[in-house]
């Protein structure tokens, strides 16, 4: 290894105080300088940190944004989420391959540009989209590709050098009273500080506010468990990993009103007795980082963060932003905490739950971005105001990230209880054959269910809402979801690691029209095994694209299965081709 690398590594490790827990930041910083993290760089980081190289390799090999081999100076990551495919990703991909003369997964011979695919980057409302060294390009058309490549080659991409391609639009389509109403910095905090922490929690209890990140756990209960749990220190984490394909509502919050979220985190800190908060931001949203840091700096200047927040003697609280590096599983709270500790994002066994043993095994409350915004508003306007909206078990409003076949994709703040029908009307979707509620890990529903309502009692959702028009090949869309889970499984437990791959293979066979009734039965068995045997929420929901379409769209499957008793999954001639071309042998006559 050139000594330059070693020096770069040592400087970066020193900058992060030789703190093993900061390995995410260290690896990100090193990668930004060297473009890859080879075995030698792994060794250099380990030496500088004084830990074993296996720890560093274990961690850096996990995240999609860390490459082990040198890549091009610029990596173009084209998003291949289902909505991008619906909106013409293939043509854009072809244009990139043609313009650059390389395939996806390759680097140009001059070492300048690598092409890769990446799962949903939170831009489904502006698809197709791509990440280019941290910058987000949206609404890409095939004819834009040449100017993108030229801008990358001439180094102008980051000075707004391309005219034809858009950057991210906020795309807030409908503001509601809770998240996107006008807001005065510090109002919620001052109100909270005028009460005891217990009363703050009690206010959340009265508001009956539930987590917006997916599971819908009551916020007051989580804060109360965390407050009561014993530990050297308590922590607050805001989960901004937003990795569920088709969701981008946190992006809009972070663009429109990050202050509200930081306010919520500060109130959480007061309620659970924490001095330190972490905001975990997915690597794909790095473009938001400078702005968020500015907002934090301003809040510090205004006395809304730091020592004696808002002049309250003894309440010190500050927030650090932790960037992720491309891993959906890091949205799972215990995996997120592992990542925050500088490790690979593998979920922990539960119990103990994070509220008992979270960051550094100390009580930690993890909440979604939107949940914490709700908390700030509840402080400001009171529980009664909040719980007057929505339904009995789902109070307040919900942000929906709506994409796919509709006229006005974007983020909508709606009251809980709204029917799917109303939602479709609102976004101008006239010919939906299906709606994916809650993303791939949620459910795919048919028109017969469009009268149902969005709330925890009926159709729970983290917000991702993907509309499939009548001409879409719905099962092909489900296949793309299955592929997502294959890629994103952390690999810890066999039912998910191997099961998601089996599921995809079996599904493909059916899709190719080579499946039998027996195969269909096996598919459902495999799906249930993965669902019930997997260790964490990822594996437990990964078969939902199959299970919910089997339930709601049985005719689509019936149309593809064959009457035969058995159809093999492989073809002898094909399977022999490779060996024959290598050794020059001629296929034998097989007599059966």
């Amino acid at each position: 290894m050139s000594d330059d690398y070693r020096k770069v590594v040592q400087e970066i490790v020193a900058k992060f105080g030789k703190d093993r827990k900061r390995l995410m930041d260290i690896a990100r910083a090193v990668h930004a300088k060297t473009g890859h993290i080879s075995e030698e760089i792994v060794g250099a980081i380990a030496d500088a940190l004084g830990c074993h190289r296996v720890e560093v390799r274990d961690m850096t090999s996990f995240y999609a944004f860390f490459s082990r081999e040198p890549k091009g100076a610029t990596t173009i990551r084209l998003c291949n989420a289902v909505v991008e495919r619906m909106k013409g990703m293939d043509a854009v991909a072809n244009a990139f391959e043609e313009t650059l003369g390389i395939r996806f997964g390759e680097t140009t011979p001059d070492g300048l540009i690598s092409l890769e695919y990446t799962p949903c980057i939170g831009m489904s409302d502006q698809a197709p989209a791509a990440l280019v060294n941290g910058k987000v390009l949206t609404n890409i058309r095939p004819e834009d590709v040449k100017s993108i490549v030229d801008a990358v080659r001439s180094g102008k991409l980051h000075d707004g050098g391309i005219v034809s391609v858009k950057s991210v639009e906020s795309n807030l389509q409908q503001a509601g009273p809770v998240i996107f109403a006008p807001f005065e910095r510090g109002a919620g905090i001052r109100k909270a500080l005028s009460m005891s922490p217990e009363d703050v929690i009690n206010e959340m209890n009265k508001a009956r506010v539930r987590g917006r990140g997916g599971a819908g756990f009551p916020l007051a209960m989580k804060w109360s468990f965390c407050r009561k749990a014993e530990g050297e220190a308590h922590y607050v984490v805001c989960n901004g990993d937003e990795g569920e394909p088709g969701t981008f509502k946190d992006r809009v919050i972070l663009t429109e009103c990050p202050d509200l979220m930081f306010e919520g985190m500060t109130i959480a800190g007061y309620a659970v007795g924490a001095k330190q908060g972490f905001f975990y931001l997915r690597g794909e949203y790095e473009y938001l980082l400078p702005y968020l840091e500015q907002v934090l700096a301003k809040r510090r200047r205004m006395g809304l963060l730091g020592e004696n927040v808002c002049g309250a003697e003894g309440f010190d609280f500050d927030i650090r932003i932790q960037m992720g590096a491309g891993a959906y599983i890091c949205g799972e709270e215990s995996a997120l905490i592992e990542s925050l500790e500088g490790k690979r994002g593998a979920p922990r066994d539960r119990p103990p739950f994070p509220v008992q043993k979270g960051y550094l095994d100390r009580p930690t409350s993890v909440n979604n971005v939107e949940t914490l915004c709700c908390a700030a508003r509840i402080m400001e306007h009171g529980a009664e105001w909040f719980s007057s909206m929505g339904t009995k078990d789902s109070t307040g409003t919900k942000l929906l990230s709506i994409s796919g076949d509709c006229q006005a994709p974007g983020v909508y703040e709606v009251e809980y209880g709204i029917t799917v029908e109303k939602v479709l009307e609102m976004v101008g979707a006239t010919d939906a054959q299906a709606v994916q509620i809650g993303g791939p890990s949620g459910q795919c529903i048919a028109p017969k269910d469009f009268g149902r309502s969005i709330c925890f009692e009926d159709l729970p959702t983290g917000g991702s809402t993907i509309i499939f028009g009548k001409d879409r090949d719905l099962l092909a869309c489900m296949e793309s979801f299955l592929e997502f889970f294959v890629e994103e499984s952390c690999g810890w437990c066999a039912p998910c690691r191997a099961g998601t791959t089996f599921l995809k293979m079996q599904f493909e066979k059916l899709l190719q029209g080579r499946g039998t009734r027996e195969d269909l039965k096996k598919l459902e068995e495999t799906a249930n095994t993965v669902k019930f045997m997997s260790r964490c929420g990822l594996g437990q929901t990964a078969p939902n694209p199959v299970l919910t379409t089997l339930r709601n769209f049985p005719a689509l499957y019936e149309a593809r299965i064959q009457p035969d008793d058995f159809i093999p999954a492989f073809d002898l001639k094909e399977a022999l081709k490779e060996a024959c071309s290598i050794t020059g042998q001629k296929p034998h006559d097989v007599e059966v």
Partner: protein, 180 residues
């Protein structure tokens, strides 16, 4: 009534499942009372002589000979059981599935540490031709039952065979299919 006929096949495995079958100890005498063996490496009968009731399959399918033999088993046996991890998933031999075949062959016959004086890729017309990957049996023919294990213990094999041959339910108790 004539004794049921059993045949066994060694495909791409390690013979461990066959060893496990022999491991039923003196119960092999009971088994011989119960069944008769047709084509099997245990008795060295090389070809099917008549229709067989149960075929036990060890190993995955890695070359055209395996393929042909498996098809023969399907043709002659009423019931086929995939026995052990290699038959069911490809097992250890399927580790090569993640490496391109060309690299595997070159490592084994040209570049490996035990190769002396160059070496050649085996290409005699008489030897079986490798498939691109190692396949589990059920991707090639219809399989009726699966007996997991690496190898399935003698008790598991015994319980499954006797249940099947005496017309009982083949449901196996948890202890016999739990492996951790």
């Amino acid at each position: 009534m004539a004794k049921p006929l059993v045949a066994t096949a060694p495909f791409t495995g390690c013979f461990g499942c066959h060893m496990s079958l022999l491991d039923i100890d003196e119960r092999i005498l009971d088994l011989v009372e119960l069944v008769e063996f047709d084509k099997s490496p245990i008795n060295d009968i090389k070809t099917f002589t008549r229709p067989v009731d149960v075929g036990l399959l060890e190993g995955g399918i890695s070359n055209d000979e395996n393929y042909e033999q498996l098809k023969l088993f399907r043709k002659h046996c009423k019931i086929l059981i995939s026995v052990g991890q290699c038959a069911i998933t490809g097992g250890v031999p399927a580790c090569r599935n993640t490496v391109p075949l060309k690299e595997c062959l070159e490592e084994a016959y040209l570049n490996g540490p035990t190769v002396v004086d160059g070496g050649v890729l085996p290409n005699d017309p008489d030897i079986p031709i490798l498939l691109d990957k190692v396949y589990p049996c059920h991707e090639v023919v219809k399989i009726d039952y699966f007996l997991p294990g690496c190898p399935p213990s003698a008790d598991t094999l015994w319980a499954a065979l006797t249940a099947l041959l005496t017309g009982k339910d083949v449901g196996l108790p948890y202890e016999l299919i739990k492996y951790d």
